[in-house]
Structure formats: C-alpha cells, structure tokens
C-alpha cells in the first residue's frame, strides 16, 4: 500500500535504504519546484525495474508524473521525455542492477550528450526483488544466491566509471542521511547537464551493509563511509580522480563540469536551420 493508494500491493522491507532515499527525493522535488516556481506536474520520475523503481508509486505528497517502464531502459525513456519536452524536470530512479548491468550501455551516450536529467541510483550491491543474486557492485568473493561459491567477477566501481564516461555531475551518498542526500539531489537537478547521485541504499534482507558503511563502535567496526572534505575542488578532474582512489564510500560532491547540454546544442542547430514545412519539402520532389 502507499499513502495515496491503499490497494497498491508492493512494500519495501522494514529498514530498506530506499525509504530514506524516497524522503530525500520528496524534499529535493519540493525545493526544486518552489525554487524555480514551476508546477509540481513539471516533474517526471522515470523508474527502473527492481525494488527501487517502485519509488515512483510510493512518493507521498503531491504527485509528480511517472513512468515505470522496462528493465534497464530508464535513460532512453528519460531521453525521449527530455528531448521532446526540455522544460520538464526529469529524474531517473533505478538500482545498481537496472542501471549498471542491463542498462549500462545507455550511460555513456547520455553522458556524451550531457542530457539535462538527474539520476538517483540506489546501490544495494544485490538483486533484491529477485531474491538476492549478485550485481555488478557485489563485492568480489561474496556469497549470494547466484554465487554460492563466491563471486568470481571483479566489483564495479560506479563512480570511476561515471568519470570515465564523462558524466558532468557526480555525487555519492548514502540513504541514512536523507536531509544531506536531498541537498545533493537538488544540486543535481540544478546542474545543467547529466547528473548522477549514486546512493548506497542497503538491502536489509540480502545485503545489509549498514554496519559496514556507518561503522559500529560496539562491534569494533570502523565505517567505510567518509565525508568529502570542504577543500575538495569538484571542478578539478584530477582532484576527483585522486579522491576516488581512496578506499571506502565518499559522501559528497565528487565532480562537476559546466558544458553545453544536448538541449543547448539542439537550440543552436534549430536557430541555424529553422526547417521547412511538409509542403515545402514536397516541392523538392517536383518533376
């Protein structure tokens, strides 16, 4: 069930990281909408398939538009929306399986186009909805239902991949601090270009990494998450690459680059080539 639809028959597990991400997204949408004085209906959420994709049905408060498509295709769907209607604030919500495995081929083109959309990626290092198979971000050697003898494939480093592919805004965070997370999602929406906010969002059922991320003094576990220092220069590619060489999960803005978006390039083409009507084109075939 959801706040607006008691009949809706999907629920996240208790403690799921996606609850925190949902709250953060709601705040970011509210802030963005009031900041830019746009109607709430100008927000479109493009959801992937997986636990996280269900966020589009679970958002509380005023509803944005949503599209919950097929596995791995959030980015091209968002591309169609944004290329057709550049005024819409288009946000992708997807998990590590959807975005980084079956949908990975779409990241590079979106980055190269600098498509002006924001992606909120919920990374739990596992396929939750299909009950615990390994994903690209599952650790090497980890036991999952599909790697009963340990994963023998290297773990993907999504943030480094985003850097390589030319994503123009990269932030990293985790689900336990929704207020902070909301700030970075809003920052991504404000960024003119392709932005990814990569969020560690643990799966309490199949890959509970809360302790590993946050640490637990009682259990003697030191947390792997660390806050990006104030003096990090996110506009420096070198600084961002150096930062990503450090172990653990950075929390903060990694990289930001200002460059023309696809829409801006498109506008340039349009002003140089205003186009012809169908009747005018027909005349070019006259005999």
């Amino acid at each position: 069930m959801s706040a607006r639809n008691p009949e809706y028959d999907f629920a996240w597990c208790p403690g799921c990281g996606d609850f925190g991400v949902r709250r953060a997204l709601e705040w970011a949408l509210e802030d963005y909408t009031s900041d830019h004085e746009i109607p709430h209906n100008n927000n479109v959420i493009v959801a992937g398939i997986g636990c996280s994709g269900n966020m589009v049905h679970l958002l509380e408060g005023e509803q944005p538009f949503g599209i919950h498509g097929i596995h791995g295709r959030t980015l091209p769907i968002a591309f169609g929306i944004k290329a057709g209607r550049p005024e819409l604030n288009t946000v992708v919500v997807a998990g590590d399986g959807d975005f980084l495995s079956i949908g990975a081929e779409h990241i590079s083109p979106a980055a190269k186009r600098n498509l002006d959309i924001t992606c909120v990626i919920m990374d739990n290092g596992v396929y939750g909805l299909t009950k615990g198979q390994s994903s690209p971000t599952t650790a090497f050697g980890q036991l999952t239902s599909s790697t009963p003898f340990g994963k023998i494939e290297q773990q993907l480093h999504p943030l480094k991949s985003y850097m390589t592919m030319g994503v123009s805004f990269i932030a990293s965070h985790y689900s336990s601090k929704p207020r902070d997370l909301a700030k970075f999602i809003k920052m991504g929406m404000d960024h003119r270009g392709f932005s990814i906010v990569h969020v560690q969002s643990p799966c309490t059922t199949y890959n509970d990494t809360y302790d590993i991320l946050k640490g637990d003094r009682k259990k003697g576990i030191e947390g792997t998450a660390w806050i990006v220092e104030d003096d990090h220069d996110p506009t420096s590619r070198q600084a961002a690459e150096d930062l990503l060489e450090r172990p653990g999960v950075p929390l903060g803005l990694i990289y930001r680059e200002e460059r023309p978006t696809l829409e801006q390039e498109q506008e340039k083409v349009r002003s140089a080539h205003p186009g012809s009507s169908p009747a005018e084109v027909l005349e070019t075939y006259a005999v």
Binding site: G69, G84, P278
Partner: protein, 576 residues
Amino acid sequence: MLREDFVIRFAGEGGQGLVTSADALARAAVHAGYYVQTFSTFPSQIMGGPASSQVRISNRPVLSNGDHVDILVALNEYAYNHHSDDLASDGVTIYNAEEFDLPSGGHYFGIKADELAKSTGNARAANMVTIGAVATLMDFPLTEIDAYITERFTRGRQGDDEIIKANIEAVRLGVGVAEEAGYRVGQLAPANVPGYEQVMITGNAALSLGAFAAGLDFYVGYPISPATTILLWMENNLVGKDRFAYQVASELEAIATLVGAGYAGKKAMTATAGPGISLMGEGLGLAWMAEIPCVVVDVQRGGPATGLPTKSEQSDLLVCLHPAHGDVKMPVLAPGSVEECFYAGALAVNWAERYQGPVMVMSEMGQAERGENIRKPDIGSVKQESRSIYTGNGENGYKRYVSWDGTVPLPPMPLPGGPGAYVANGSEHDEVGDTTHLPDHHIRLTERRFRKLNLLNDAPFEIEGDASVALMPWGSSKGPAREAYDRLKAEGAEISWIYSVALSPLPQAVLDALKKKDLVIVPELNYLGQWSGLLRQEGINAVSITQYTGLPFRPGDLAGQIKQRLKATKKAGATR
C-alpha cells in the same frame, strides 16, 4: 514496332555511376511524360562489388520491375555474364568496350563512353554517351533528353552552358555508335502525359514525408539497411522549432526513447529493419502495455539474423504482429506502392494518436529504395489527428486506465506539465497506473488494450470481382501481383482481387469477402507463407505462392504460377 514499355538495366560495379545513369534516364522519361520505376541491387559494402540499377519506362503507370531486360548496359564482363540471362529474346546489350570485348555475332555492341566523353571536353558526361545509345535502341525522342539536360544543368552558375553543350554532344556521340551498330529493340509508344501534377520520390522518402505531413515531430533511429534513408531524411527535414530528429546508440535505445517521447506528448517514430525489430520487442510491449502512442517502421530485408541486408523479402510479418511477449497484437499497415507509403506514413501517426498505442508500418527494401513518379500528394488534405489530452482539475492520481467498453470516446491522456499526474506502467496496473497483480485488473485492462484496436478501421482496401478464387497480395508484392492479375484478366481468367493496406486489424469488409472465397492465393516473399497461414487461422482457404530469392516477384512468373493454381482448382472442382 511500337512497345508500351522498356526495361533498361545498367550493371557493373558499385561506384560506376549505375544509379546516376538509371536515374538520369528515368528523369528524362518523366520529363517526356512517361511513367517510370527504378530498382537497384547492390552488395552490403561501401565501394565496388557487383551492382545494378535499372529503370522501367512505360506509357502507363508502372507496377513492377517487369519480367525481362530489354536493354542491358554491361560495364564489365562479370556484369554481362550475370545479367545476360535476364535479357528478353530480342534484347540488346551495350557493353563497355574499354573494359572487355565480346566475340562478334551476338545481340550486342561495344561503346567507349569514357573516351567519347573526353572528346566533348567533359569527362563526366560518359553516362550521357551511354544514354544516347540506349535512346537510339528504343527510339526515345532526343529532344526530350536535351530538354532534361538543359533543365538539369541550368543552375545559375558560370559554365552551365558549356556543361549542357558537352552533355548534349555526348548524347549525340552515343547515338552515332548505336546507329552504326544498327540495332533497334523497338519503338517506345508515345507518352500518355498524366493530367495531374507529379513528384519523383522513393518509398522511404514518401513514407517519411507522409508521417511529417500528419504532424510527426520526433524521430530517433539507428543506421540499418534499408531503413537508413529514413533516418537521413529526418535528420535533414525534421528540424525546426519543437521538432527533434536524432541518431541514437541502438534500436534498444530507439524504442525506449520513443516511449518517453510519446508519453511526453510527441508524435514519435523510428524506422528499422528486421534485426532492429527483434531488439525492439520488449519496448514495443511497453508501449502496448502503458498505452503510449508511437510508430515503428520495419523496412524489411532478408532475414533472419543479419540475413540479406540489401535484398527483398517479406518475412517479418509474424514478428511485426507479435514483436513482444505476452498478449499483444500490433496494428500493422503494409503499404504496397510508393504512393501508398506516403499515406501509410500519415495514417500510422494518426492511428497511434487515436488509439494511444504503438503502430507498425511494414515496407520492404525494393519498394523503399526505388524511385517512382507518382501523383503529387495533396499535403493540405492530410488529416492531422491528435490524441485527446486531459485538461481536468489536476487531481492527484488521474485514473487514465479505466475500463473501456468502446461506446464512449477513449479517455484522454494526461501530459507531463499539465494536470492529471499518473504513472504510465509496464507492469500490469490499476486505474492510476500503480502496479497490481489482481486478476480483475489484468482481465479488465487486457480487454481494454485489445478493444482499442476497433478504433483503427479506416485503412484503404480493394475488393474487385466475384470469381470464387481470389488473389490477395500484401505489402510490396502488390505491384507485381496486380500486373499478373491484369494480364490474367485480359486472357479471360476467372479470378478476383482482394488487397488491404491494414493487415491488422483486418477490415471487416475484407474478412467477409475473404470468407466467401473458395480459394485465396497469396503471393509473398517468404518461405513459411506467413500471411496465408494467418488467413487459414481465420478459417479461410488460403495458399501461398512463395519466393525467397532476395528479389521481388516478376509478374510473368507470378502469372504462370497463378494459372497453374487455377487449373488445379478447376480440375479438383470438376472431380468433386
């Protein structure tokens, strides 16, 4: 002897200007008031390789590529060896004497077109030397070629006059060679100049223009033969305010992009060939399930897998009807001529808007790339339908996916930015688009999705004659089938004609007519006999005449095969 039509084929190697020559001859003929149809075959490689380009010129509308070649221009020995079998018994070959020689005594003569062209001071006029020789063989009026050349090269540039003079001189040199050789294939009958305005256009361009005329404002595509020319057309023409044309990274990306654009309110289209259709299956299922308007064009080629990328085949029918898993049956329009491509492009866009869902258009390599002079479409009369858009009070959670029994207009679709936020969902859903697995919803919405097809009932069809055996071609086999049918009718054969641009949903009148026939003969370019199989599912006694050579039907072959069927049917009837 007066003849109504001629087939002239230029054969050689890719890059030798074969298409340019056929095109120049075609345009000169159109200029003179004749009807033409061009056709090219080429290998899937950038340069070289055996290729040919032909034009059929007639004083009546041309329905097919014809049966035989009347005049063969062979630019190398390989071309002569491989095309001379296609020559009519009285056909003549003009061969490239700069490349090879043939022993004396055959129906041929050599020409040194390059050498002769150089003597005019314009080495690029070689194809005009050849055209002069061709014109002589068929007694084509030289004044018309001169007029074409004058028009073609009057471009307001310095030197136009010299180019025109050299080209006309080149034609005369070719005439001289042919006259010296002394051959005549016949005399082209005078033109019946059509009393209407015309355009010279290919199937792919006509389809693109039709969609544009119906208001298409979004196109994405991925290069693939033989659909690439639609992508290029769109990149060149679908520019301007609120219009978008773009080359995407794959067909997977293309279909998902289309769904996004259609959802956001654009009239969106992509074009691909068989391999792309295979990749688009899941995305098309999403468009069907979430009820998103969009148009997908399949310009068929030979399959499966990479198949025959530059050849003719009609083997994608089953996959176009059912590209996706699950309970899905796509609306399919299969235009059967260049002119029909224009109107099918427009109708597909309108259908997608009207029933809020995906529409397939099936063309085919031969039809897509051939040039034809057709009646100039009346752009102003092309209907522009637009989906009904929700303009209500902006309630939270608009019920877009209500049950629909077809007695009231289809409920409007909200657009992002406007009122009525909802979720378009590829999972089964309730009224607002939230996922549900309850049987009631699945039953209700499955029926809604199929019922909407009833809105698509205005595609053109043809039903002629009441003979109990009918010929029913589909798609690009219509032309050769019609030519075969006309010949058989002229011989007094008892056969009737049924044809429908819409293969799904099939118009009720067509279905009724088919059910009344004792036998329906379906010529189609595939091994399985895909359309006749579907007709048999409907309880119709249908058989296919199949061909899977990678080439279109020849009307003469087809007429012969139909005749055999008719004979066999008669015999069976007599013994019954």
